[in-house]
């Protein structure tokens, strides 16, 4: 069957795709920032000596990691209002993605914490630092450098997960692409352009993170 590519209809709506991409990026950045805070806290909780901290943290990570994110998104948006928690579309999605990324980032940070040699903590104790000082000025900086590669792939996969916001009609890139698809029937072109925008953004993110890794590397 013949199908002639004609991108003009898609170019006419290109600014909508770009606006969608902007919203996708914004959702990802806000959710990841909150997720990093949750992830750090949970990672320390997972390594703590008290089981009152450890067990809830482990439960949180296991439950979130084994539940599909689409179910979480729909649950937060459609089911939580029955418990009296009523959030707007964007707030609800950001909250879900933040909770979701928190669990994944907690695993990344936990692996990073394990990789910090125990000698560093002991050295901190020897020069009279408190446990909190050791955490903020020794463990964290060393751990962050170690986890950067894993962090960048988690960031990229979380950025891709913003496409699920389309399911609750948040006008991000996938939602806009779907609308343009239905309006113009330029099916092939729309999805080629949308995928290329995602791939390009992911590539830029990967390059940026590699640059950060290079900058932060300890010179030998």
């Amino acid at each position: 069957m013949g199908y002639t590519l004609n991108f003009s209809a898609v170019w006419r709506s290109f600014d909508r795709l770009l606006a969608g991409l902007g919203l996708s990026l914004m959702l990802a950045v806000v959710a990841i920032l909150i997720g990093c805070a949750i992830g750090l806290f949970v990672a320390f909780a997972l390594r703590s000596r008290s089981s009152w901290l450890r067990s809830p943290a482990a439960l949180y990570v296991t439950v979130i990691r084994n539940t599909p994110i689409l179910v979480l998104v729909l649950f937060t948006y459609f089911a939580l209002p029955q418990l009296g928690v009523r959030l707007g579309k964007i707030e609800s999605f950001v909250a879900t993605l933040a909770a979701y990324s928190g669990a994944y980032l907690a695993e990344v940070f936990r692996a990073g914490l394990i990789s910090v040699p125990p000698g560093l903590r002991e050295a901190g104790l020897a020069i009279g630092l408190t446990e909190m000082q050791i955490r903020t000025s020794i463990t964290l900086p060393v751990m962050l450098r170690n986890v950067l590669p894993a962090l960048s792939s988690t960031f990229i996969s979380l950025f891709k997960d913003t496409s699920l916001a389309a399911a609750i009609a948040v006008p991000e890139l996938t939602f806009e692409a779907r609308k343009i698809n239905v309006e113009t029937f330029r099916v092939v072109e729309t999805w080629i352009v949308a995928s290329c925008l995602y791939v390009a953004t992911c590539t830029v993110l990967a390059v940026l993170m590699r640059e950060v890794e290079r900058r932060l590397r300890i010179p030998r």
Binding site: F75, I156, L164
Partner: protein
Amino acid sequence: MSAVEPLSFLDHLWLARMPLLRGLGFTVTISFLAIVAGSLLGIVVGLALTYGAWPLRWLARLYTDFIRGTPVLVLVLASFYVLSTVGLQLSPFQAGVFALAVFCSSHVGEILRGALQSIPVSQTEAAKAIGLTFPQTFAYVLVPQAIRQILPTWVNTAAEMVKASTLLSVIGVGELLLSTQEIISRTFMSLPFYFLAGALYFAINFGIERFGKYIEHRTTISA
């Protein structure tokens, strides 16, 4: 005259047992087909990435990077809309399984490449020295070592596929999530039914995760 008692969650659950079970069956079938097809395709991709001549390797790299850079939801929607436009008449089920299999193949390909490349070159050289041909080296030296690395990660990918199968609800495949949504739109009990769906997915994936841990335990060579 007494008012009709409104049905409780358990009544609705009993009424909806067949659609829910059918949805669960669909979810398992979709994930299974996608994992099998994706892994077979992924083995080809992984081999092309590791041993292909440069044009083939370059093509395989382009394929994996493109697929891995695109959200699964976009792959699902694109495969649903695009394939029918270019003349392939696929049902939503077929288009969805196709998209998931393609997604799975790019992951399996990368896992396989990583595992094969992590085997020291000296192993291949030693095999050459004792006169093994490349197929023999591959079957007796490389595969047994690579498989230990691949299996745990591969089981994780399987859990990913079960989670990704929820995305097929968007194109109207009646798997567990869509059945749940249909029941909710009839009963308006979004809280218990979404919770139930979440719990079912959790149960499946938790089982897969435990299985992965077990496999990992069995395949590590104790030092």
